[in-house]
Symmetry: D3
Subunit: 306 residues, 6 copies
């Protein structure tokens, strides 16, 4: 569910859809988040700057708590707030927010397109590409390669507990790209047939660690063991400035009921971490819209925003 | 479902229950298999040795195809056939089969008990033990440690697609052992908290490779990366003599419908390998009833049967 | 012994205290060094620019040879010399040196504070942190975490031959931080209980190699083997510009008598290297006052000074 | 064969000498390439800007296809084209090309000299340095160390199929540097005696991968296994801007007859890849004229040209 | 050149052909060696036991020095001497030697056949198998797989300096097995396409180290890095009993002229080690006629002869 | 302090000398232990078998608790008890104990001699051998090599806290073997100069883990990282049968006062583990008197005693 489908929803609706993962994917939740902020100014009718600022911050704070791990949302919300503190009146404030919105959406979509191109060019004729979860940006690269006429195949992991791999499998098969679905446990067994791994990212830390869907780090480990390049596709706004100054990325622990009905498992603790961290050592490169870098160069991307 | 619950079932019933994994676990299917062979002699009423032999072999061949990866079943069936070729009459033949049956069951249960003890002693007070799938022999060791008063905790993986981890979690919680259920993808993320990994095995190859439930090899890889000892519990009849002479263990590819309903995924290939191979490098030791060995010593266990 | 305790000492005193390690720690010797240079201008009474310059350089050269491995001292001394060549008279020269002194001390102390904060935030509730030798900057991070109310524990290595670990242990226990002292050989044995390693640095080379107290590189190797993050705390003035242009860091070989009385060991050679080099591969991140970087990004920090 | 030996040759001569590897080495072919472009302007006598531009591009395109893997050539040719599009007349255009030529040659030779110095300083008294193929820039560093009076030894690999190792061995022995020639297969066996490996590069990718003569990556792997530092000497114009935007370095497959006479091997396929890619993980540092960096910092060098 | 082609040759002829590698391959030189001993008894006409014994030992000693690395020859010669010390007369002595000869040849050929079968069964349909040098026993396994109808491909390394890879390539192409010839340096570059590596061995040490043609250990390292199983085919008489009691395998240094004409390279040292040692860590299994073992189980094979 | 120096001591004296490490080294404490048992029978004057048995067991139990990690002592004591249960009278019992004593001492000394020879042969001319702690059996091998005329050098670690490295250094320098003493932290820094590591062992577990002086495992890790073979010298009676049946080797925690005076460190916990476990992965081979094996073959040595 991307930004064009959010019509008619109010801010709380959007926040909830992000929380329940109806709106999913680090780029999409960033775009939905900025859309929600836009709604604040669109719906605000008073002429009280203070009040608008309060509303904007309320909206931002509500959203920021929906998915603590995704820095893209936080960076998107920050982008929306650019220049509003010194706006002289509500009109000016609204104009700036709208402007910020247009720019962020454009930047976000352009980045996605560029990364698809850079990533797609790196996939070779005949490659078997494994992907984990459902990253629109990683799939963008895969589709780019396919559209360039390369004869490729994809292996998609199921991605328990939310099974986003089903969406991946269907999405690719709709484009006629040959795709095989496997359980998450079969990754190492299949890795010998794999030429490349492509995944997305929720957050990139300043030391190059990649925070992404739970399981990503063991896919990366299996790829590394087998000399299979592991590529991360991530727009520059997924790099976390805060990690450069000591903040640790908080790994979201989601509801047990996403795995099983806890009532059927009394006395069993159920742990459902939504993300894990892949160390830079296992990442061949990160494809950003600013170019392809080593993960160890992450600080360089962040530095530009410091 | 173990051997005492097979009353009233005929051979084909047993074979099917093994195929559908109603009877699961390498030791249990071996015991069920030998029980089926026992039924042949119990139900055979003629006095025709040739005919009995034919029946026995038919039964053996039917069973052997149910789960091609489990060498325990094959070894159990071989055990049942000991001495029948030179039996002088059906009485003698029946007696030998019954004898073989009693011996194999006793040996199998005694081995299970010994391994539980040896393995349980190696679990320390306060250990967090991760286990994959539902191995009665590995759980035997965990329970032994618990019963010795050690304050331990278990992390159980879900074990898609058949989710045997649910059985593990329930089985342990019934004994009041603290247990946490996780999805298979969360293994690497949790590994930092784990002190030991205990799993079972379906087959041990002569070079020490351990064939076990899909996902085992990536659990082992994650443990190895994190300096966590990875222990395999396996009776000596799970060691495959045939692998010493070039036979490769055949990895069973099970029905896609165990993962999803294929009708919902037309044009998506679904691959469902039931096992994978863990290289000896990632295995700290194999606990057998004959003692605890390095996986590289597997040939020594097999050699005794050559 | 930090800069405020140097009153009454002359330059040679300071140089000797650095040589004998009475003044220890890369940051402290840098601050002591710049203090010594300050003394030159404070005590210089003539009005002869040439003579003052000669004095300043003599002082610098005397100091630079005290501990060849510590680039912090060299960088501090360079900082003191900024702008003196084109000062128009001794007054101006003295003013600039005094100015440089104030700035360097402020920068040095502010960097220490910032790194303590960034590093402290990365230590989690309940962490066991291992540290080697006695780095005020690494201990700063540990104390920050403790002061934030995090319930942590420290393992301190003895750090033969000079046993700075005793100072570390006492310093932490005075703050009520639970601390365990071990011999250097016990690092790998204890590593399974460790969540993080924090150390300081004497010099960072342009390829990310970390030169620090002898033994650091094997602590790092043990951490790496065990998936324990290894964090280096280092102000940016510990990064060596010279290494970017081919200079190798010279590892100081200190007096055998720091280990044993050589007279008791005639015919035995005693080797006492004071530092070793930890390769970037084993370092999770370097915390600088400019942000947290991958060691492979060291050139970026140096580049700003080129 | 370097640029001063190209007198009397026309553009096609130069292109052919590059193709046949009579002119070899990434730096030399870049210099030969720019010389060829210079010849275009030197020989062009008309006063038609359009025509000159066509000639220049024809020359560039002819050259660029001679060795697709060497980005140095491409970068050199780009350098030659700087400012010609907006030149107001042929005179101006010629002047700019000549200017570009002088600058590129100077920059190239100065870079070579600087790298020799930085690299030479990093070789220690008594070191045994292994080198693969025949890189003038890596040999420059070795000779620098030797000329500084360091007592070193070199091991040179044969470097099949073109056996450039013979040239290396002779070139070094002419300078009286002790050198041992080995077959390419003996690298791992000899690595225990080696202190450092020095090689050149044809292209550096934005993620730090080093593309160099076939076999380089297995030399690097053997060095890494043995904790021997692996150093790459490469001018900044060997870093490929294109790889930062998705282009993959094309590995040149050269003629089978370089290995054997194919007529003697009917029904045998002969594969002759001229280069391979060494991952950043196995590279200790890259020595450029701008300073010594980690390979993971390659993007930083490229970024300056973006 | 195998045993049936040695007619008409005297002992010195055979020794020389082994030295010059006209007779090559650890198994073939063992068979040639025992044939030479047989010739001693066939040609001996006196009735003097002492004299015969002297002749036999002279022959043995001459042969044993031809290729010091190959334990197969030594073990073959030992086999020939079995029982001769207590033979009562020359007749008896001759009979025993002849008997030993027949047995050794039979045992040697049967082992080769068995290993071909065990090894061939482990090659899968569609596999790309890389082999180094020219091992009749490893090629036996490859041919077995091909003859079983498996659609396989082979990559053969050139194997400098003696280029036995040319023989391998021709031998396989004569059987219509698709084969690609590469230089030794291209192994790592090609490894991503390889499914298995099969090589022979000259000697197996008691700790599982495999001594084989120079370059084998770096092929093994490249395979290990890429998770490609590395299989060694070796008859049990290639396991060295002496290594279990401290003897080190002596790596033969062969004549420089095998690489280049030394006259063309004055002042260049040429080193030509003929073998290297592959550590057990990189070897998946050793296929012997007694079964397939882990290299770490080598002592078990040797123990039977102690 | 070896067995010949125990004259005049009673059992409690011997036990205390073992506890305080006046008698040190796994072989020596085994010999001292059996000597103590011998004293029981020598001093026993009654004719009461029961009473003698009680005395013998009391003595055994007293001794066994002195150093829980050393299986050699336990195995020696077991050896002393052979056949005493069914001795018909005290005379017979005494005779058997005396017999056992002579045999054990002979076996122990012969094993030491054999291992020195096998180990010494594996040290090459010119080798630099690093050793940790003070193992008479490892030093035996080093001295053997020296006595054979090999020009070798030794690096001896200090081995805190008891500094047995000082004894090693003096012992070797008395034999004129060039020896360099280093602190334990300098191992990785020196490893690049080391050709081999030789150590002893207190206990070998059935999976090949080597329990030896604290620090051994990090020496092994450093050697492994640097491709330096790590050799363990251990008599077969140091292999622990009990570990094959689940017993874990208990790591002795010795008195803090061996490190510092605890009174000077109130509120500091001091941990003083005396041993650590080196995994089989880092051990090249174990030299026993029965031959040289892979550590993974440890069960084979134990099996003979089961």
């Amino acid at each position: 569910m991307d930004v064009e489908e959010l019509k008619g929803l109010d801010i709380e609706d959007i926040a909830e859809k992000i929380e329940t993962m109806e709106i999913r994917g680090a780029a999409k939740i960033a775009r939905a988040g900025v859309k929600a902020v836009l709604k604040v100014v669109e719906e605000f009718e008073d002429d009280d700057e203070e009040a608008l600022l309060v509303e904007l911050k309320k909206c931002r704070d509500r959203l920021i708590n929906t998915r603590p791990t995704a820095v893209s949302l936080e960076n998107g919300l920050k982008y929306m707030m650019k220049g509003i503190d010194d706006a002289e009146n509500t009109e000016e404030m609204k104009k700036r927010v709208k402007n910020n919105y247009s720019q962020f959406i454009e930047l976000s979509l352009k980045a996605k397109e560029d990364i698809a191109e850079y990533g797609g060019k790196r996939i070779n004729e005949g490659d078997v590409v494994l992907t984990h979860c459902n990253s629109s940006i990683a799939l963008g690269a895969i589709k780019y390669a396919w559209e360039e006429g390369k004869n490729i195949e994809v292996i998609a992991t199921e991605s328990r507990p939310k099974k986003q791999g089903y969406i991946t499998a269907k999405e690719l098969s709709q484009e006629d790209i040959p795709v095989t679905l496997i359980v998450d446990s079969a990754v190492r067994h299949k890795m010998k047939q794999v030429d490349q791994v492509y995944v997305g990212a929720d957050t990139i830390a300043s030391n190059g660690a990649v925070i992404n869907k739970i399981g990503t780090s063991q896919v990366a480990l299996c790829a590394h063991e087998c000399r299979v390049p592991f590529t991360v596709c991530a727009e520059s706004y997924k790099f976390s400035r805060e990690t450069a100054f000591g903040d640790l990325v908080q790994i979201e622990e989601r509801d047990p009921s996403e795995i099983v009905d806890p009532k059927d498992f009394c006395d069993v603790k159920i742990s459902n971490p939504a993300f894990d961290a892949t160390p830079a050592d296992y990442v061949d490169c990160i494809i950003t819209e600013k170019g392809i870098i080593s993960p160890e160069g992450a600080y360089r991307i962040i530095e530009e925003r410091i």
